[in-house]
């Protein structure tokens, strides 16, 4: 299954809605899309992964890279995730302690 990427705005935050499979084959296009948003000046980003069917270490690497870049820019990254399968891989890698993971988008954007 291919990856789908849609971008929208919620308050002051830019939200990237991701769906399908994030793996070594598709992660590049997600990474590129995020880098492009940062180049365009986005500093408040959310990545909504609730429609993601499968995510591997390459996908986690994209989240880590985005988080690191935004921290350097004093920006912020929220991962929106309520899917047990995805939460499990964040927990297994301990990334739930490093990334700001919420079950829904905060209403303040």
């Amino acid at each position: 299954m291919e990856l789908t990427i849609h971008t929208r705005t919620a308050g002051t935050r830019t939200v990237v809605d991701v769906g399908g499979e994030i793996d070594m084959y598709t992660a590049t296009s997600l990474r590129e899309r995020i880098l492009q948003l940062l180049r365009e000046g986005v500093t408040a980003l959310a990545i909504d992964v609730n429609q993601v069917e499968f995510c591997d270490s390459t996908g986690l690497g994209v989240f880590i890279g985005a988080s690191r870049r935004l921290r350097e820019m004093n920006g912020s990254l929220i991962i929106v995730c309520a899917r047990p399968q995805m939460l499990k891989i964040f927990q297994l890698t301990g990334l739930d302690k490093v990334l700001d993971i919420r079950d829904s988008l905060p209403t303040d954007g």
């Binding site: 793996d23 990474r31 591997d56 270490s57 390459t58 880590i64 891989i89 890698t93 301990g94 490093v98």
Partner: protein, 143 residues
């Protein structure tokens, strides 16, 4: 004991087929359905790590995956990239290390893959080839 082998040119697209193969072979070996997703993800992670290692070191040789169906369901994924000192130190980094860690994508992928595998698979071994060329991820599950 039945054997199934899958070998592929180190390109990301074939890792998808590798996951299909792992799930299909595990299902036909009558592995518990609860474990199928774990086997699929774990085999995929091991192959992703192998492709990242080949790519980082410019190695064209095929990545090899092998399944043995006997008392247990055993999966092995072998790469043929040189084992560097860093690889050994960085095995299964913790989350703080990952977050602060390598910026090169393939190195990051390798570390995250190993960290995920360590969390996911109870019986996991990562073995470096004695001659310094190649490493093997060996995993097994009950049948």
């Amino acid at each position: 004991m039945a054997t199934v082998r899958f070998g592929f040119t180190p390109a990301p697209v074939h890792v998808r087929t590798a996951r299909l193969v792992a799930a299909s072979v595990a299902q036909q070996a009558r592995l518990s359905p609860d474990l199928l997703d774990e086997v699929r993800q774990a085999a995929g992670e091991a192959c992703t790590r192998a492709v990242a290692r080949h790519r980082r070191h410019g190695v064209d040789a095929l990545v090899r995956m092998k399944f043995a169906i006997g008392a247990r369901f055993v999966a092995e994924v072998a790469d043929f990239a040189p084992v560097t000192r860093t690889d050994m130190l960085d095995d299964a980094a913790d989350s703080m290390e990952l977050a602060a860690g390598p910026t090169d994508e393939d190195t990051l992928t390798e570390e995250v893959a190993l960290t995920l595998l360590s969390g996911l698979v109870a019986d996991l071994q990562v073995m470096d080839a004695p001659n310094g060329i190649g490493s093997t991820v060996r995993m097994s599950w009950p049948l």
